[in-house]
Amino acid sequence: MRKINLSRRMIGCFLGMQLFCFVAARSQSTYAYSAPSRQALQQKGPGDSKPGDNTQKQTQFSTITGKVVAADGTPVPGVSVTIKGARGGTSTNAAGAFSIEANKGDVLVFSYIGYTTQEVAVSSSTLSITLLASAKQLNEVVVTALGIQRQAKSLTYSVQKVGNDQLTTVQDASFVNSLTGKVAGIVIAKSSSGIGGSTRVTLRGNHSTRNNQPLYVVDGVPLVNFSPAQPGDEFGQSGVGYVGLDGGDGISNMNPDDIESVTVLKGAGAAALYGSAAANGVILITTKKGKAGKTRVDVSSSLTLDSRMYKTPLQFKYGQTTTPSLGNPGSLDSWGSVVDAPDHVDPFFQTGSSNFNSIAISGGTDRSQTYLSYSFTDNTGNIPTVSLNRHNLNFRQTTKYFDDRLTSDINVLFINQDAHNRPPSGVYDNPLTGLYLFPRGLNFNQYKQYSVYSPLRNTGIQNWWDANYDSTQVYGSAWNSSNSANEQNPYWILHRVTTDNDLNRVYSNISLNYKLNSWLNIQLRGNVDKSWNTITQKPYATTSTVLTAANGGYNVLNVTNTQYYSDLLLSANHKLTNDLGLSATAGVAVNDQVADQTGIGTKNSGNGLAFANVFTVNNILPAAILVTPTYTHKQVQSAFLTAQLNLKQFLYLDVSARNDWSSSMAYTPVVNRGFFYWSAGLTGVLSDMVHLPDPISFAKVRVSYAVVGNDADAYASHPPEFTIDNQNGLVTNGTGPEPGTYLKPESNRSFEVGTAWRFFNDRAGFDFTYYLNNNLHQYITTEAPAGAAENQYGYAYTTWALNAGNIRNQGVELSVDFTPVKERHLIWTSTVNYAFNKNLIVSISDPSVKSSTDYQTLTGIGNLLYASYMKQGGQWGDIYGYYFQRNASGAIVVNSSGAPQEGADTSANPPVGNPALKKLGNPMPKFTLGWSNSFTVNRFVLNVLFDGKFGGQVMSVTQAYLDFNGDSKASQMARDKGGVYVNAVTATGGKFGGINPQTWYTTVGGLSGISENYIYSATNIRLREASLAYQIPTKAAWVKGLSVSVIGRNLFFVERKAPFDPEISSATNNGLQGVDTFGLPSTRSVGASVKLGF
């Protein structure tokens, strides 16, 4: 009942706001697109006139008409036409024509997004203007916070823009993956779950103990990017029943063809206006709108074939250690004699395919434009049964009313996505474990029939080399009735432990913009984003008994995410004097987010289901049903102001201020005052201030500083006394704020300075940024001393939630572009993006907080190889694990049989409290480098993108497990050579050479071996994208464009040292970074695409 009441109240509040305040206006960038005639303005009265208006000229007006076309001769509608030094102006119509009152000798200014602004002196009453596509930086307009458009040159912080063609030429099911290498300072890790899996994006390093991913904003409105489930450990467990699932993320649902451009705001300075959610940077997505003029239809289609980019190195030479005998299936490991078994792994994989189809219709009049698109994505994976389908429907309508003073913009999006058998990450219920570990010498093909009839159960049961559930009936002899959880029949998993992830999402946006006068407008925006996500898993009876009950299980996770967002903006854009301009936006916003999850699962012990293999909720036995609801609700209300003052359009001062009130601060003194943050920046366009030598066509310097707050997680400041365990009743909640303290907002402080230069008439240029970011008062949970101060409920929390610590990131970003060749028949442009980031955990404790530790756990060690801790003085994501015991000269200490010994820290205070663990590496790259080239030869365009990540270390649990069982190529080579030759000594100091491979690998390998042996350099360089497009010449008048392309993605590694793709990660949340546990190998995609416009 409480939920309903609460949401009613919330809606009431929300409706109240709607009634009172949902009228808003939108800033129209630095340009007024259209305005009434000068005469009309003159009639408005003295209040709007400034001294200095040249009233004498009034009588000399005449009508100037003309047409604006692009370089290719097509008319450009919507071009702003103004008279230099005067207010007002007009814009071109659908045919590119305009008409304006001006004097001979006046200078007309023609400006339009994406084109170089042109100034033309009025010399006759008709003009013909050809606009040229704008050079980068000079007059480019970018979308910044809240959808405010700005000239790139005026920005006081670093942004990078990626256009539609860069995202859609070589498509990925999730467009975010296409940003790799194209933006300096972005680090993208894909989940190992293949197509449509979630993506972890970090900008300028990891800042936080909690969320490190940027905020996505679509057309000025924050986008919900929940990720419902992520694996939590190397087994792949992600909560009861939901084995190893990557639940996907919200951003991957978008249709890349609907995106006009993506702007990456990297620093907090760029993001200060978005509030707390933007502390990790913002990725702004501008979607396509209809364009006035003749209706245009764009159809595009692409098909790529996806294969493994690399193969996991395995051996098939040596056979099973103990071969089967009556009543004994033999051993899992393959340390036996030479059998030269066939490679059963390669044929298991298949060629996957990705098929994208989209159609978009765009058109309209001056007053009203429509954009309608539909796309269909169909993917099949490169292991059998894996598929992903997605339908996107997008409608957008922009209309002007009341003499063009009111503009409405309505956008409705519907997304339906079905992912079947998205591959899990981790050891459990993963087809790759059974596949890779299958004992060599047994006949794999016999298990393609994954199910055999059991007279005992009267149904099909798992058919696998070590599973003999129905022993007496089927095999006439007994062995284990349950096989291992760590390897099962891969086909059984694909057909009998199926997972489905079905998503429906509706996203709607309404924006009303009213132009109050030539310099002031008001905009109201409202947004509802609702998604329904259902993840189901159906393990059949005789799936490993460790994971599944005797009659099978049924696990359902229902997730409903709802966001209501609205804001009201008042924007002014005014020339204070001839030299001084001011643009400012003030506004209020409310963002209400609810994530409502209900997990219904089956215990993995007992019978689980009443009737075997009937997958309904009412079939789960009462004793076995596990219900885990999670309901998080947070509302943030904000008021903000941003202003930009410019002097002669060459010196810009930016300030912004924002105050947030967050519901998550309720029950703390912070709730009423909220939290305030601000930013300030200064940009000088040197090339406009002073005359620079000719080769320099543009130069600017910029500096900015920002403080961004961040609120707490919902309920953290007001934890309940008990939680309910549906099987066992009340459980005392163990985590809460330290009694006597309360949670405060985090504080993310960032400084950046940068400069951008362009040379030789825009043939070359660079943009350089240095940034320093300190994220203070992080939310931390720390073990409380047992029995410390009791809370309001009378007991002592075992874990305190508190603010402490500082994580620092500093680095540089450099983006260089140049055009080495610009001939009539050949244009070669090249861009290099470089970024270097250094992360330091300055502190993780706070002297004011009693008894806090100097480390925090991101992933605990359990009994496995991998752990990650944030340790004071270390770096975010540091990998810890077990290590070799070494003597003074660094040789590995082995015992008398050659088994390496594990090291132990004998000091009183081991780094992370465990003597067996030490820091082994960090998965984050030291620097990243992307190099893209575009060659245009007549009608051919060749694009090539190389992408490299340098430095960092990753761990392969896969390799450790394969080594342990004698299934790895390495174990074969050691056997071929007759021993493992490492620098090893015995405890007494004697040299030990040629260690028995089995002794060596069964000690260092496995899930509890010596982690250090499985650390690899993460450095990798690859040919990320290549495409060759051809514009087909056509004489048909109705065809506006026709091109075909050959495309490739992830083509090959120029360099790779790890046995897997280091870019792949087991999970995309904070845990499990830089570790591979039987993840699916990356795919190489090769195919073709066709684009047709008419």
Partner: protein, 538 residues
């Protein structure tokens, strides 16, 4: 400014004001609907009873993976009851005295999180309110049952200072002696309260009956339990403080409502539909098997209970035998010992205390000459028959067992040891017991004590925590020492492990308190330092 402009600005101002007023909903938004706040749980005394429900389920943790680190990978092995076939951590782990910090804080953490916290919230809610007195008393009783176990693992604990942070942020430990004083005092007040309540209305169940997972709200059963617990603790301190021991023990022996006496009195926590954690650890995980000493005793004594405790081995080398794994041996791989005897599949209940134990406690009280203890031999024999009875074994078989004067522990032969013969314990070894079963009232005191503890130990299975505590106090029964000792010299092979080190979290979160605790401990914080009541019979 036109009129419409002014209007809009006014609306904006109202909106902003409206925003401010909307923060009043923040309190309800920031209240977790899936959690419970005190006002939600007062109905039906849920605020008092449910936390105590949680406490009962966590004295021994009902969840397999918690139980595994709370007790199974320490006391259940150190007591000789069980042994793991899994070479955790490259076979550097508790079983061979390479103590794993990640495991050894678990008993501590779980106790404070899942027992002390819920009990504290009940004590706060009930203190000084007469109608809640039964809840108050019951909470104290459960607290003693849970925390004496924690103290018996680590020594000093946080008990009387729970919920009180010192100005420097530390929390003060009680010495084990002080903690035991508190235990006795808590037990006194509970028994007084329950005795009176029972006398007033002998047929009415306690108001907490719906939350009682052990005795369904029977005052009388809880009084018997509390008396037996007091006797257990009294016997525990009988070597270090004989006067205190006798005083407290005789109180229990004199109480009109008596001790646990028949198998039906056994204190078993009903864990509902949860499977027994030991069974899951053994069967589903394959992480625990039977220990060598227990099965050597049972085989040697031809104990009819053996098939109720263990399953026959399936490994071809020992198939059909009841054979356990010796603690602290070399194990190269999981598979080597997986086929040795597993424990049987236990029912879905957790054994806290048996009536048989009460008889053995009385037997020891008798040989110590405490009044009200009765005859030692009778108590001893009743203890055995009560245990046999618990497993449905008829009196003939029990009598044959009781009267046998020749059977002794069977030697241990391990055919699968990595180094042949390395794990064997052969006839003549000082680690192979020669004590028979039959009681002989003319035996010297130590022999009588050895018989009592040995039989109590067998009857106590699978509750390893109490078994390990009594082994440390008396060094009975005779157990096999570890073959491989990886303690780095901190734990003596021949003197066995005496305790677990304090939780590593305590070092980081409560350094001052922990230093104080080490002072109270009176020795280094490692596995070799004996506890206060452990007078180290060596």
């Amino acid at each position: 400014m036109t009129r419409i402009n002014k209007l809009l600005i006014a609306l904006a101002a109202i909106a902003a004001a409206g925003l401010g007023s909307c923060t009043k909903n923040f309190d309800s938004i920031n209240t977790n609907p899936d959690g419970l706040y005190p006002s939600d749980v007062a109905i039906d005394y849920q605020n008092l009873g449910s936390p105590l429900n949680q406490a009962q389920l966590n004295i021994l943790n009902y969840i397999d993976y918690n139980y595994q680190v709370q007790q199974n990978l320490n006391a259940d092995i150190f007591s000789g009851f069980m042994m793991s076939s899994t070479p955790f951590n490259g076979n550097l782990n508790n079983t061979n005295y390479s103590l794993v910090p990640g495991w050894n804080g678990s008993a501590w953490d779980l106790a404070y999180q899942n027992v002390m916290a819920p009990i504290a919230t009940v004590l706060q809610a009930t203190a000084g309110t007469p109608k809640y007195a039964p809840f108050y008393a019951w909470a104290k009783l459960l607290r003693v049952e849970a925390m004496h176990r924690v103290s018996d693992i680590y020594g000093p604990i946080i008990y009387s200072h729970y919920g009180t942070t010192n100005p420097d942020g530390s929390v003060t430990y009680d010495s084990q002696e002080a903690a035991y004083t508190e235990f006795f005092s808590d037990l006194d007040s509970t028994i007084t309260e329950f005795d009176a309540a029972y006398a007033a209305s002998p047929t009415l169940p306690a108001p907490f009956s719906q939350f009682d997972l052990v005795y369904g709200g029977s005052y009388k059963q809880w009084i018997k339990f509390a008396n037996t617990l007091r006797l257990r603790l009294a016997i525990r301190v009988s070597l270090i403080d004989p006067t205190l021991a006798q005083t407290e023990g005789e109180k229990s022996l004199a109480d009109a409502n008596g001790l646990l006496s028949v198998a039906a009195d056994n204190a078993l926590v009903n864990i509902g539909s949860n499977e027994n954690p030991i069974t899951l650890i053994a069967v589903a995980y394959g992480n625990i098997n039977m220990g060598a000493p227990l099965l050597c005793y049972m085989n040697g004594y031809k104990d009819p209970r053996v098939s109720q405790y263990a399953q026959a081995a399936v490994d071809p080398a020992v198939a059909g035998q009841y054979i356990g794994i010796r603690q602290g041996i070399q194990i190269d791989a999981n598979g080597r010992y997986a086929g040795y005897s597993l424990p049987v599949n236990f029912p879905n209940e957790l054994l806290l205390m048996t009536a048989a134990e009460a008889w053995f406690l009385k037997a020891e009280a008798a040989i110590r000459g405490w009044s009200g203890a009765g005859d030692a031999g009778t108590n001893y024999n009743t203890g055995i028959t009560t245990s046999m009875n618990q497993y449905g074994i008829g009196s003939a078989a029990a009598q044959a067992y009781i009267t046998n004067t020749t059977n002794t522990e069977q030697p241990y032969i391990d055919p699968k040891s990595e180094v042949a013969g390395q794990n064997n314990v052969l006839t003549g070894s000082p680690y192979l017991s020669t004590i028979p079963v039959a009681w002989n009232s003319s035996d010297p005191f130590q022999t009588m004590l050895q018989k009592i503890i040995t039989q109590k130990w067998i009857a106590m299975f699978p509750e390893g925590e109490e078994a390990w505590a009594e082994f440390r106090r008396t060094l009975y029964p005779t157990l096999f020492p570890v073959v491989v000792n990886n303690s780095g010299g901190t734990i003596s092979t021949t003197e066995f492990i005496r305790r677990l080190p304090f939780a590593s979290d305590e070092y980081s979160t409560n350094p001052t308190g922990t230093q104080g605790a080490i002072t109270l401990l009176g020795g280094p914080d490692n596995g070799g330092t004996p506890l206060w009541w452990d007078t180290n019979p060596h």
